[in-house]
């Protein structure tokens, strides 16, 4: 497979968006490109990869602005999503299935 890619919107961002399905290994950073990064796990197209280590409680920065808060320490190259980042306004999004986005806080029976 050709070089896998992600896109960094703003120079201040600590995450980038996968332009391909990423597998562990080297990933080219396009856009406001910093140095290339090594993916630590599988990250699907459209999802975010940590461009550097992010400490617990630190802002997740995309578009140059905070889009959430790290709920745990995040390693460089890790997948950043609902399992390690929470919204500052929408509490409910922390109660969704990490893969499907389906709400887990609604009782059906």
């Amino acid at each position: 497979m050709s070089q896998r890619r992600c896109f960094q919107v703003h120079p201040a961002d600590n995450v980038a968006t996968a332009l391909d399905d990423l597998a562990p290994g080297a990933v080219r950073v396009l856009g406001a490109a910093g140095p290339d990064v090594a993916a630590g796990e599988e990250i699907l197209l459209g999802h975010k990869i940590a461009l550097r280590r992010i400490g617990e409680g630190e802002d997740i920065v995309k578009f140059g602005v905070p889009i959430g808060i790290a709920t745990t320490a995040i390693a460089q190259g890790a997948w950043v999503h609902l399992h390690n980042c929470r919204s500052r306004v929408d509490e409910r999004s922390s109660h969704l299935d990490v893969k499907t986005g389906a709400a887990l806080d609604t009782a059906y029976a």
């Binding site: 459209g46 602005v65 999503h81 980042c85 919204s87 306004v89 986005g101």
Partner: protein, 409 residues
């Protein structure tokens, strides 16, 4: 960006139609306005086969101040040079008043009731005759003057978004907006319900403390609206696609505002008071009947932008769309190269080059600027050439005491 823009692009001018209020149009259209759904068939029959004639109107028999303000704003839009209002004859909305307002604004105008003319055939014939005489007067009275970026008002909206919209489609519009505003032009963005989670960021962009207060009130109204209708603009599919928070989704939409200071908040049908970047608030205000949705479809939002005087509207769509608009040409921008290739006849601009790394954001914004200049100079946009004239208005309420109350005042 000032440095990267070449001089000829900055100084570009094209012929425009000078209107009595000082605004300039990039087209010289005749607007046919129907005042109730019952008159819409004849209105469309009158406009059929006439390239310079577009149709708008209002479906309701019972009138609505918001809808009347919108029709008046469109009938006196800079791209419109003449107006023909057509009523059935028993509705509340008065075509004579619309034609009178358009005439007073310096636009040759006419009106009639279908019931008085005899019906479909005679009404259509009456309308066709009216177009001929309106065109003669418009040709005789047209004032063609040079027009540049500082005379231009551009609107932007997104719809049919995908993962590329926040990364490329909206940012390229935002970068172009920075450039347009820096060169004396006006830029309008909307969809305040899609800015939830960005209150501090929105307020930090205010030009003055007064504007910050205005933005805050607009933001809070949108937040209350979202709470009342129990819906935020984010769904399980968005999360599955990689969006982690409402802030992230909102920021992708907000990116089309660029980075310059926001001069204030416009209501639907309010003309841009002075150049710069403006937020359009199309969210309904509190009303005893509680009617109205904020943007029930893309066309409604596009008409709101045009009602504020936008001569061109940029529509960002990652998944692709086949709509156009009356009055002001729609320029369709996608950040998805596959969408652009698949829907080449409908898409005007491919910002996917930014994601592929073949263009920088600034380069793509310059290309978009060239395209906007071409459309302003008369080149039809893709939907305009295809004859797309989608139009939508609905019953809605907004408190706008500073605006003319419309026909019932």
């Amino acid at each position: 960006m000032r440095e990267t823009a070449n001089t000829s692009l900055v100084e570009r001018t094209w012929p425009g139609y000078l209107r009595r209020d000082g605004r300039k149009g990039i087209r010289n259209l005749i607007l046919v306005v129907y005042t109730v759904e019952c008159a819409s068939f004849v209105a469309h029959a009158v406009a059929a086969g006439e390239e310079d004639v577009h149709v708008i109107g209002f479906s309701g028999c019972y009138d609505n101040a918001y809808a009347i303000r919108l029709m008046l704003a469109l009938a006196t839009h800079p791209n419109v040079g003449g107006c023909l209002a057509i009523g059935l004859g028993c509705e509340y909305t008065q075509p004579a008043k619309l034609a009178e307002a358009a005439e007073q604004s310096g636009r040759p105008s006419d009106w009639f009731y279908i019931q008085n003319e005899g019906g479909t055939k005679t009404g259509t014939a009456r309308g066709k005759e009216a177009l001929k005489s309106l065109r003669q007067r418009m040709d005789a009275e047209a004032q063609i003057v040079p027009m540049g970026w500082s005379d231009l008002v551009v609107g932007a909206e997104c719809g049919g978004s995908d993962g590329t919209s926040g990364l490329a489609g909206n940012p390229v519009v935002g970068r172009f907006y920075d450039f347009l505003v820096d060169h004396g032009g006006s830029a309008i963005f909307e969809e305040v319900v899609e800015m939830i989670g960005l209150r501090e960021i929105l307020l930090s962009r205010a030009a003055t403390p007064e504007v910050a207060a205005e933005l805050d009130a607009t933001y809070r109204k949108a937040e209350d609206y979202c709470k009342a209708v129990r819906q935020y603009s984010v769904s399980p599919g968005n999360f599955a696609g990689g969006l982690t928070s409402i802030e992230e989704k909102s920021m992708g939409a907000f990116a089309k505002s660029g980075s310059r200071a926001i001069q204030g908040v416009l209501r639907v049908s309010q003309t841009v008071p002075r150049p710069g970047l403006w937020l359009l608030d199309s969210v309904p205000d509190n009303h005893f009947m509680q009617f109205g949705y904020t943007n029930p479809n893309d066309t409604e939002g596009i008409m709101d932008l045009i009602s504020c005087g936008a001569q061109i509207v940029l529509f960002v769509t990652g998944r692709g769309s086949v709509i156009g608009s009356p009055v002001a040409p729609l320029v369709k921008v996608t950040g998805n190269s596959r969408t652009f290739e698949r829907m080449r006849d409908d898409m005007d601009f491919n910002a996917g080059t930014i994601l592929e790394g073949s263009k920088t954001l600034d380069e793509a914004a310059m290309d978009l600027m060239e395209m906007v200049g071409d459309v302003a100079a008369g080149t039809p946009s893709k939907p305009e050439a295809l004859g797309h004239r989608e139009y939508f208005v609905m019953y809605k309420h907004q408190d706008t005491p500073e605006l003319a109350a419309g026909c019932r005042a």
